[in-house]
Amino acid sequence: MIQYIEQILPALLSGTKMTLSIFFWTLIVSIPLGALVGMGLISKFKPLVWLLNLYVWLMRGTPLLLQLIFVFYGLPILGIIFERYDAAIFAFILNYTAYFGEIFRGGFQSVPRGQFESARVLRLSYGQTIRKIIIPQVFKIVLPSIGNEVINLVKDSSLVYVIGLGDLLRAGNVATARDVTLIPLILVGIIYLALTAVCTIVLKIIEKRSNVWQ
């Protein structure tokens, strides 16, 4: 059995690389974008709010799987062609930005108005207020919800296998179908558990650090 595991492990690890690459790119882009969307959602400029609400509704109201299929198989009909990997990243960023946007909107709204006023009478500019006062507070407020989405993203990334990308789940599935054994699927489960465990620990550390103030 050890020998078999050694034999399929390279394929699984290469699949893990794909899973991680989707995971990181989605997070790196959609967290900052989500913060911007969150600010947009509380803007006084109503057309922007409507537009962003429509976007959030579309992204949260339809399955991520549909969005993936739409981007990769649907858009080429309109002449917009993505590589598999780009299609996956694009769909994931669009989807996760919507979720993060909603989380950040809630975060911005829970910072008391008085904090803005206090910064204002100290003559801080809007940008300085956002950077030095509001963002750190919002970050602390949204951290647990963001953590949830991060864990979800590890597992959601397995959806890319529908557009033929070789991620971790696909690697395990291929091995199981070929060798008629449960071992690859169990290994896949263990690797996902390890990934989410790492995320959980990292999130705990960040949360602990942010607890120096209350």
Binding site: G114, I133, Q137
Partner: protein, 211 residues
């Protein structure tokens, strides 16, 4: 000297302040008193530029200024809020040095030295690296006072400085306000506490509800 001429403030159709004029003399303490709902806090919010006025003019030593103008370099008005509104994510020192370094571009070393001096004067020595949640209400208020003073305002305004404090601390605030007066700070205190107002104020301005 701060002069306010013909100030009117409406919320929708409701007039809260109607054609109010007043003068705050240098080094004096003006108390604004009146029942709740009379527009005391609104008046203070107009003076501090947090509310736009419907009409009226503000003069500092004869020169007209707009308190709501956000990018003025020289701060005329400093504010201590009723609930202090310290920044919870910054230490005591961070709260105090943030605006002078960012807005006035003063060097951090100078701002820090000045801040230590002020903290010491208000009995907050050794609290520099604490976060607001680690302070008592009275200490938070004093940090808020130091934070406002660090911008060297010409006038320091307080919104209900005694409302969140127990009676013993009330006298302490009065002492602080009077000691700042000795250092030639002009101050405006909004309060519903008549005893407190009579204790500290050189002049008392009464505001009444407008029907």
């Amino acid at each position: 000297m701060l002069e306010i001429k013909n100030l009117t403030k409406k919320f929708g159709t409701k007039t809260v302040i109607d054609d109010l004029s007043m003068t705050v003399k240098d080094n004096e303490i003006m108390a604004i008193v009146g029942p709740s709902g009379a527009g005391k806090t609104t008046l203070l919010r107009c003076i501090t530029g947090l509310e736009h006025v419907n009409s009226g003019e503000f003069f500092w030593n004869g020169t007209k200024f707009d308190p709501a103008e956000t990018d003025q370099k020289n701060t005329i008005i400093g504010v201590v809020f009723q609930d202090y509104q310290l920044f919870p994510n910054l230490t005591v020192m961070g709260n105090i040095t943030l605006a002078p370094t960012l807005v006035k571009k003063e060097p951090l070393s100078k701002v820090t030295t000045d801040a230590r001096e002020l903290l010491k004067r208000l009995g907050l020595e050794g609290k520099e690296s604490l976060y607001p949640y680690q302070l008592s209400g009275g200490q938070k208020q004093r940090v808020a006072i130091v934070r406002a003073l660090a911008m060297s305002p010409k006038i320091l305004c307080y919104d209900e400085p005694t409302s969140a404090l127990d009676p013993a601390l009330r006298d302490e605030v009065a002492e602080i306000i009077l000691s700042l007066k000795k250092q030639e700070m002009t101050q405006i205190v909004v309060t519903h506490d008549m005893d407190f107002a009579q204790n500290v104020a050189d002049e008392i301005k009464r505001v009444e509800q407008i029907d």
